[in-house]
């Protein structure tokens, strides 16, 4: 039987590994997106090939350029 502290250490290492893998997957799979939220708590994602999405991406690009 493992010593109790070893068990806790293994469990913590497992959590950290899972978190690292989650972040890796997130970085690899996440694509650009635009989300707008309104008063009722609702949110909508706008694709870049729509008029609204294009306007959002253009405005965001301008803001990002301003921050350079």
């Amino acid at each position: 039987m493992q010593k109790p502290h070893r068990l806790v250490l293994d469990r913590m290492t497992g959590y950290a590994d899972e978190a690292a893998a989650y972040l890796r997957r997130r970085r690899l799979t996440r694509k650009p997106f635009a989300r707008v939220y309104t008063e009722g708590g609702g949110g909508a994602t706008h694709a870049s090939d729509t008029d609204q999405g294009r306007a959002l991406f253009l405005a965001a690009a301008r803001l990002i350029d301003t921050a350079r």
Partner: protein, 130 residues
């Protein structure tokens, strides 16, 4: 920029209060590239020399309003070059630019706190003469 009448917090914030709030917000994370706070009339605080922030920030909020059927409360656009955030609280608005892959909920929480701080530090309206 249309104000949101349902969430009117305070109509004004002082430049000093907004500047302190923006500085504090910008110092919270190394992933923060810059931010700006403005009201319907003017820029109250911004990173760097402040040039361009007002127009660019308003443009993002207008694009967000145009994308929604009602005035947007907040918006998040993630691009390959970085991430742009916009938040409206009463008459005040704030925009921020961060590195990629930040946690959006944390950024919005910090932005809300910064706007509340900016509004709180605004001078109280002068009492009417008796």
């Amino acid at each position: 920029m249309p104000a949101n009448p349902k969430k009117r917090v305070r109509s004004t914030a002082s430049r000093a209060g907004a500047s302190a709030a923006a500085s504090r917000f910008a110092s919270l994370s190394a992933e923060m590239r810059g931010c700006a706070i403005f009201d319907p009339e003017k820029l109250l605080a911004a990173s760097g020399d402040g040039e361009g922030w007002l127009d660019a920030g308003r443009a993002l909020l207008e694009a967000a309003d145009g994308a929604a059927s009602e005035p947007a409360t907040h918006a998040h656009v993630a691009t390959e070059d970085g991430e742009a955030f916009a938040l409206r609280l009463g008459d005040l608005a704030m925009v921020a630019v961060t590195e990629r892959f930040v946690l959006a909920s944390l950024v919005f929480a910090d932005m809300r706190a910064a706007l509340r701080e900016a509004a709180r530090e605004a001078p109280a309206p002068a009492a009417s003469a008796a």
